[in-house]
C-alpha cells in the first residue's frame, strides 16, 4: 500500500443532498445504552435498599474486585472481536503471578518482577497466537491446552503453596492512593483508556473488527489475517500479565490456584456487555459495562447476605439471561436497520418495550418501568 495520504477533500459540492454524514442508525443507540441502563437501575435499586452500598469503603471494594476481571475482559474483548477465544488468561495469570512473585522474592527487585510478568505474558500470547495462526489449531483447543499447561506449571513451581514475602517497596505501591482511590483502580482505568483508543482510533482496531466480521473479506482487502490474529493473542497475553500484576497488588503473593475460572468469567463479561461471540462486533466500552454490571451484582448479592453457593447460581443464571437478551436485542436492531429495501429506517413502535421488560422481570432486581425508560 502506498504511503500517500488523501488530502483533505475540498468543500463538499453536494452538501445540499446529504447535509451531514450521519453515522449512527436508529436502534444502535438503544443497543448501546441497554446494559448501562440496566447497570444504573441496579445501582439505584441497591443504593435505595441498602445504606452500605454507596459507602466509600464498599464502592472502593467493588472497583477493586472488578479490576482484575476488567483487565482480563478488556484483553478478551479484542480476542473475541477478532472471532477467537482465549481460555488461558485465568490460569495464565495465576502462573504469571507465581513467576513475578518468585522473581521479586529471589532478586528483591520490584522492577525485575514486573518485567518478568510482562515477558511471561508476552510469551504466553505468542505461543497461543503461533499455535492458532501457524498450526491452524482452533483457538478454543489451543488456549484450552495452554490453560491446562499454565495451571500445571504454576502448581509444579510452588507445590501448590503461595509465594509470599514480596519486597516492602511493592507493598507500598499497592497501598498508594490517588484522589482516594487505590492505584489498582487507576491502573485499570489507564488500561481501559489505552485499549479503547487502540480499538476505536487505530488501524489495528478496525482490522480486528474486520477480521472478526468477515475474515474472507478482510483477507481480500489485503489485511493479513495471521498478523492480526497473532497480535490479538499477544495483546491478550499482555493483559494476562497485567491481571497477574493486579493480583499481586491485591493479595501480595503469587497464587498458583487463583483465577481458575477467570477466563470464562471474562468471556461472560464481554458477552454480557454486548460484544458478539461471533466476532466483528463489540467494544471495550461495552465490556466495561459488562464488568461493572457483574461486579455490582456480585456486591449486591454479598450485601444481601446470600450464601456463596447460591450467589454462583444467581450469577450463572444472569450470564445466560444476558446472552439471550443480547440475541433478542440484536434481532430487534437488525429488524430496524435492514428492511429488504434500502430506504430510510424508522423505528417500529411497540417492539422495543418487550425486551427491556423481560430482563428485570427475570432477574427480579429491577422494576420494569425504569428499565424501559432509557430504551427510547
Amino acid at each position: 500500500m502506498t504511503a500517500m495520504r488523501e488530502r483533505p477533500a475540498r468543500s463538499d459540492p453536494t452538501g445540499e443532498r446529504t447535509p451531514r454524514p450521519q453515522v449512527r442508525v436508529r436502534g444502535a443507540l438503544f443497543d448501546r445504552l441497554f446494559v448501562p441502563a440496566v447497570l444504573v437501575t441496579l445501582v439505584v435499586y441497591l443504593s435505595a435498599t441498602n445504606d452500605a452500598f454507596f459507602s466509600r469503603i464498599n464502592v472502593t471494594n467493588v472497583l477493586m474486585q472488578a479490576s482484575i476481571l476488567a483487565i482480563v475482559a478488556f484483553g478478551a474483548t479484542f480476542v473475541i472481536m477478532a472471532g477467537q477465544l482465549d481460555l488461558s488468561m485465568g490460569t495464565g495469570s495465576a502462573l504469571i503471578s507465581v513467576i513475578g512473585a518468585t522473581v521479586m522474592v529471589d532478586t528483591g527487585s520490584v522492577l525485575l518482577g514486573l518485567g518478568a510478568c510482562l515477558l511471561a505474558g508476552l510469551l504466553l500470547g505468542l505461543v497461543n497466537g503461533v499455535v492458532v495462526t501457524a498450526l491452524h489449531v482452533p483457538s478454543f483447543i489451543a488456549t484450552l491446552g495452554t490453560m491446562i499447561i499454565c495451571g500445571g506449571i504454576a502448581l509444579a513451581m510452588t507445590n501448590g503453596g503461595v509465594v509470599s514475602g514480596l519486597p516492602a517497596g511493592f507493598r507500598e505501591i499497592a497501598t498508594l492512593r490517588l484522589l482516594g482511590l487505590p492505584v489498582l483502580v487507576w491502573g485499570t482505568a489507564a488500561i481501559f483508556l489505552l485499549l479503547w483508543w487502540l480499538q476505536r482510533q487505530t488501524v489495528f482496531g478496525y482490522q480486528v473488527l474486520a477480521v472478526g466480521g468477515n475474515a474472507e473479506a478482510a483477507r481480500l482487502s489485503g489485511i493479513s489475517l495471521g498478523r492480526v490474529r497473532l497480535l490479538v493473542f499477544v495483546l491478550a497475553g499482555v493483559a494476562t500479565a497485567l491481571a497477574a500484576i493486579a493480583l499481586l497488588v491485591r493479595v501480595q503473593s503469587g497464587q498458583p490456584n487463583a483465577n481458575g475460572t477467570l477466563a470464562l468469567e471474562a468471556i461472560a463479561a464481554v458477552v454480557v456487555g454486548g460484544t458478539s461471540l461471533n466476532g466483528g462486533r463489540g467494544s471495550v466500552v461495552r465490556t466495561l459495562w459488562g464488568v461493572l454490571l457483574i461486579a455490582v451484582l456480585r456486591n449486591g448479592l454479598d450485601l444481601s447476605g446470600i450464601s456463596e453457593d447460591y450467589k454462583q447460581v444467581v450469577l450463572g443464571t444472569v450470564f445466560i439471561l444476558a446472552a439471550s437478551v443480547d440475541f433478542l436485542r440484536r434481532r430487534l436492531v437488525r429488524r430496524r436497520v435492514t428492511p429488504s429495501s434500502a430506504g430510510p429506517t424508522l423505528s417500529s413502535p411497540g417492539a422495543p418495550d418487550t425486551t427491556p421488560g423481560q430482563v428485570p422481570a427475570a432477574t427480579g432486581t429491577v422494576p420494569p418501568s425504569s428499565a424501559a425508560a432509557p430504551a427510547r
Partner: protein, 542 residues
Amino acid sequence: MTATTGAPRFGVRAAVHDYSGVVVLREVDFELRGGEIHALLGENGSGKSTLIKVLTGAVRPTGGTLLLDGEPVHFATPQQAQAAGVAVVHQNYNLFPDLSVEKTLLASAADVPRRASRLGAVDHRSWRRQVQELLHRLGVDLDPRALVGALGPAERKFVEIARAMVTEPRFLILDEPTASLEPAAADRVLALMRTLRGHGVGLAFVSHRLDEVAATADRVTVLRDGQRVAERASAGLTTAEMARLMVGDRPQESVRPDTSTVRSEVLLRMHDVRCSDDGDAFDIDVHAGEILAVTGLVGSGAATFVSMVGGDVPLRGRAEVDGHEVRLRTARDAQAQGIGFIPEDRKARGLVLEHSCAVNISLASLGRVSTAGRVSRRRLLRRAEEYRNRLDIRMPSLGAPASALSGGNQQKVLVAKWLASGVRLIAVEEPTQGVDIGGRAQIHDLLREFTAAGGAVVLFSTDVREVLALADRVAVFRHGCLSRVHAFDDLDQARLTALTAGEDDSSAALGLRADGAVPSSAAPLSTPIPSSRPTVRMESSR
C-alpha cells in the same frame, strides 16, 4: 364454501406490506394458475422478494388477502403454506453437502412418518423407492445415494426442486432458479420447470434473464417500486419491452463509447500461467485502459485465472508489473502491486456485512485515512461521503450496515473500496450477478470510467451480453486453459456462446506450440494469443 370450478388458482389480492414504515408492496395483485409458468419480473427493490415471502408464508403482509381457489387463506408460517400446497425454492443453495440426495429429501419431508416409516423409524428402502419414483416423475436422472456436495450446480438445483416437490404441492414458487447457473445448466432447470407445468403444477419464478423469461413463461407480472405495472401473456412480449416495463423511463444498458480507451502501455504481463494441473501454460497481457473479459464454462479455468490475477489464489506462473517481476501469491501481494479483487460472492467474501458502508469503503485503504496508525474518523466519513456521491451509492446512511444495501449498491461499495485504495487494476468476478438493470448499467459505467482514467479491468463473467457490452478483448477459456483471445468486434452473442460452450472454432487454430515452449513476445493487442493445444486433443484428454 362453493369454490369456483376450473383450474386451481393461488394468489394475493391487494397485497400491501411495509418494513418499519418503508412501503415495499402497494396493493399488488398476483395470480398463479395451475399448469402455467408465471414469471415475476422487477428490479432489485421492486418488491419481488417480499411478494414471494408473502405468498409462501414467510412474511405476513400488512394488508391484502391470500386467495387459494378463490377462498381466503392465511399462512402464519412457511409450513402452513406448504401444507396448503404452496412450496418454495429459495435462491441460494440451502442444502446439506454431506447428505445424500435421499436423506436431503427426507430431511424436508414433513409427512415421512406416514409414508416411509416402520414403528416410527425411517424405512430407508421404502423411502429410496419413493425418491426414485419422484425423480423419475420429474424426469431427473440422479442417484438417490449421491452426496449433494458432489453434484453439479444444475443437479443441486434439481435436488432443491425435488425437495420442494416431496410434499406434492400444487404451486411452486422459485426465486431466481437459474441465477448462478451457466446457460446449459439453466436450460436443464427450465426444462424441468416445463415438465412440472405438464404435471399441472403452477409455477411462479423470478429471473433477471429476460430471454429465458420470454422463452419459458406463459405469463409475466412486472413489479416496479412495489406496484404491479403489468400482467400479460408473454407471447409477443419482447425482452426489450420487459426491460422497459421494469425500469420505466430510466436508461437501460449502458452504451459502449465510440472511442477505445485502451493504451499501448502494458500494466500486467503474465507468463507461463497454469489454471489447472493438466491445462497448458499460456501468456497474457493486460493493458492500461483495457477491459479484458475472461469467460468460459464452469471448470474452464476462467474463474481461476481471474482469482489468480486478484491474488485470491496463488498465481501459478510469473507476473510482471511495469516490467518488474513481482510476487502474486496473496491478496496482499496483489494489493501491493495495485491490484484489487472483487469476488463473485460479495456477501460472503466481499463485504463485512455488519459493518458500516463507510468502513467497508475504506477497508482496503485504512492507511490512507490515518496518520501514524491512527484512523481519522472524520476523513473516513468524508471519503465515504465522496464515493457515495460519486458512485451514486444508495444507502440509508454512511453508518448503516452494508447488509442494508441492495445488491447493486453493495457492488458499488466494493468498487468504491478499490477506487479509494488507488489500485490500477481491478479483477472482478460476475460484477452484476443479482443486480437489477439500472444498477447493472451504472456498474458498467463505473468500470468504463475506471479504464478511461488509465486503469485496467480483468472481468470474469458468464453473461454473454455483459462481456460483449464491456470487453475490449475477450479471453475464452476451455478445459483448464486459455483457448483464444478475441477482439470484441470479432464476436457476437451467438458466436461467443458457441465458443465458450466448446464448439470447434477452426479459425482459432493457429500458433500451436511445442510442449514447454512459450511464445516469446506478448501478443500485440487484439491479436489472438496462440491457443495452446489442438482442440481435438483437449477433448480426448477429458
